[in-house]
């Protein structure tokens, strides 16, 4: 809802010389939503709905075959969260048969915006009804990847965004899936949603990629599929988003510390997993370790819960790279924390008058809280 960032983005993309945004495919207003979800959802959303719908329709009409819509937004602010939630609901009405994937960026736990927890709760509760799947990146996690794996001393948002873009790219670049019969899949969003978000109460997806290292080190590293997959599986089980300080030149120790947590209570059960392999010798990669029934919940068989996509084209200079998109308990703790903090603030009714001013009542808050408690309870049951 304000022009600075869009102007910057369009300039920067045009400067690269290789691609740019269309001249008319953007929309901005003069004044933002002031970090106020209610302002975005109740005021700006409806006001600008028609213009945005027109822009989306123009792009959709240019497609031969619409695979789906992906909305990218943050949950802490006002526009991304409020207007984003409104637009998602509206697009669901206009395109009822298309897949809608929302990519969300969750803010730092130590606070970027004071009312971020309110905005996040309201956004998630509303999106859950209309979106097919919600792919989440947390700023805290990506920041740690930048500092510990990529060794960046002064991390800027450009670095953080680059990591997120790498992970998204490794999911959405063309791949050969089980349904695509030997050609690159024409329906990546649909297959993603179909394989992972099989139950309406379980829509939260998280991503891990391996390897992630500073580009200067790539030339000196060798990768092997068994090694990569073993680490990725361990990352899934122990719910860590990155491999920590492992030297790729050395043989991995066979009984690492973390294997022992396999049967412990911090074991991360998954509902479904999607493994995407890109690079050399991808057909020889042995993915059987991901089909272990112990990884999954009891009511879905591993054959249905686990899918693999492959592509022989290397991605972003990594000779071999593996990405795991999982619908698991990984996001349970951050979600729980966020809900707890929002509830504490709500109990003292702080900042509520700012939301009521624009049309969101206390009942709306209570509804969102109840709904998310339900989601947390469902994930706990996995």
């Amino acid at each position: 809802m304000e022009p600075k960032v869009i102007n910057q983005t369009i300039c920067r993309s045009a400067k690269s010389g290789r691609w740019r945004y269309g001249e008319t495919s953007h929309f901005s207003q003069k004044q933002g939503c002031g970090n106020n979800w209610a302002h975005g959802f109740c005021v700006h959303g409806p006001r600008h709905r028609d213009v945005v719908e027109e822009l989306v329709r123009r792009e959709v009409e240019r497609c031969d075959r619409l695979a789906g819509l992906m909305a990218m937004m943050s949950v802490a602010g006002g526009t991304g969260s409020g207007v984003g939630a409104y637009i998602t609901r509206y697009l669901r009405d206009v395109y009822p048969k298309s897949f809608i994937l929302n990519h969300l960026t969750w803010p730092y736990g130590t606070g970027e915006v004071i009312v971020q927890n309110y905005n996040s709760v309201l956004t998630l509760a509303h999106l859950y009804h209309h979106s097919d799947a919600i792919l989440v990146h947390e700023n805290d996690t990506v920041h740690r990847i930048c500092s510990q794996l990529l060794n960046i001393k002064h991390i800027s948002f450009t670095d953080v965004n680059r990591v997120i873009a790498h992970q998204l790219g490794s999911i959405l670049q063309p791949a050969l899936t089980t349904d695509s019969n030997g050609i690159y899949s024409r329906n990546p969003l649909g297959e993603l949603v179909g394989s992972l978000a099989c139950h309406p109460e379980y829509k939260l997806l998280s991503v891990s990629t391996i390897p992630q290292m500073p580009s200067s080190s790539i030339a000196y590293s060798t990768f092997s599929w068994p090694g990569l997959l073993k680490h990725l599986r361990q990352m899934l089980i122990s719910n860590s988003k990155m491999e920590e300080c492992i030297d790729w030149q050395v043989q991995l120790p066979s009984a690492s510390e973390r294997t022992r947590t396999l049967l412990g209570s911090s074991f991360n059960t998954s509902l479904a997993n999607l493994l995407i392999l890109r690079g050399k010798d991808v057909y020889s990669a042995e993915t059987g370790s991901f089909e272990d029934p112990a990884l999954y919940s009891s009511w879905l068989s591993p054959e249905e819960a686990f899918n693999v996509w492959k592509s022989p084209v290397i991605f972003n200079k990594y000779e071999k790279s593996a990405t795991l998109v999982s619908n698991s308990k990984a996001l349970l703790r951050p979600l729980d924390n966020m809900l707890g903090k929002a509830w504490n603030m709500f109990a003292s009714r702080a900042y509520i008058h700012q939301y009521v001013k624009f049309g969101i009542s206390e009942e709306d808050f209570l509804d969102s809280f109840t709904f998310l408690e339900q989601v947390i309870s469902s994930y706990n049951q996995l």
Partner: protein, 474 residues
Amino acid sequence: MTQSVVVQVGQCGNQVGCRFWDLALREHAHVNKKGVYDEALSSFFRNVDLRRNDGGSCGVGGKIENLKARAVLVDMEEGVVNEILQGPLREVFDSTQFLTDVSGSGNNWAVGHMTYGSAYREQIVDKLRKTAEHCDCLQCFFLIHSMGGGTGSGLGTRVLSMLEEEFPEVCRIVTSIYPSAEDDVITSPYNSILAMKELTEHADCVLPIENQALVHIVNKIKHMSHCGKPGSVIKTDTTVMSGQGGLSRAEKPFDTMNNIVANLLLNITSSARFEGSLNMDLNEIAMNLVPFPRMHYLVPSLTPLYTLADVSVPPRRLDQMFSDAFSKDHQLIRADPKHSLYLACALMVRGNVQVSDLRRNIERLKPSLPFVSWNQEGWKTSLCSVPPVGHSHSLLALANNTCVKPTFIGLRERFTKLYRKKAHLHHYLHVDGMEQSYFTEAVSCLNSLIEEYDHLDATKGRLMPDAPRFSIAR
């Protein structure tokens, strides 16, 4: 890009406002080397081509012809405004932006609020509306005034309620200069308390500033520059109180103190004017820092106050800047926020600072700052890439903190001392429209505000249990 209008009322308001425009021009001249009228300039200035017939406003993107400030200047005596009109800033204002009278308010809130408020209501609203019409998208009114006098305090608060009536959707940020205990105006407690009621009810945010704190800061800088320690030579032109490079040459008394306030205003709007990796608009200030409608008093603190002439800037200086922002020497009122309870805090960083430095410092300082139990991570951050003139980076912290309570209590005590004896009361009651009930209402309003802060203070240090959450029946 949004625009803001500055309304300066009274002698203090106009003098501070004057320094603000001077520094704003200096900052934009520093950043804008090409002479193009860009979006950043348009937030405070209009570009007017006087040769055109239609009133002359030019759009963004053209060459700078004549810059006119988006301001309304109000004073009930002519001295200060005449000085501005004869000084080097006369080109920046045009005659339709002034409103003056001859005799002044005599340090009497009632005269300012009632007499002049009613007499000049139409004219003031007219001027405000004209200024607002020149704006594409008006986001905020900045009101600058003092609390101790008659015009700034009385007429200023009347203008505030006019702004609320005529432009209810536009944010109102008020910079109020509170009188110190040894103020030379005897009736300043009366004026301040009467004005406080209006501020509590009609303003969106108030930035209270005390003269005492400004004097303290000025003395600290002077001490630093004269103490002659090796390595402590201050780079000229970088102190927050220096106006060098601006239009006005001679520095008058109060100029140094006013410069600090002007810098405050520049830094608050910097993220809305210039680009950065994490922008913060002015309406976000009110949204994030005001949890309850009446508790909107935000204590400002500015760092660094000066830059040493030492060229090497190790990262330790950056961390020092963050620590200083919370020390009681840098606050613009006499208060110690570290020992009171924080409700919320905003950090507005300018210059070459990355998000990792910001997060590192927040994590470092958090354990020593007491936050209210339901807002343990109550930080709002913004990063603007354009640093202020003379510094490589700077930080403005706005804290909604219960440390304003002692200031208000002190004000109330001084008020009670006079009110008990009914001293000077007749001057006020003689004014048409003024009654004794105004005084009692104003005091009770202040009392309830202090009580609200008390309630929150009582929770400080106590481990508040988390509110029980919903449990889902299965």
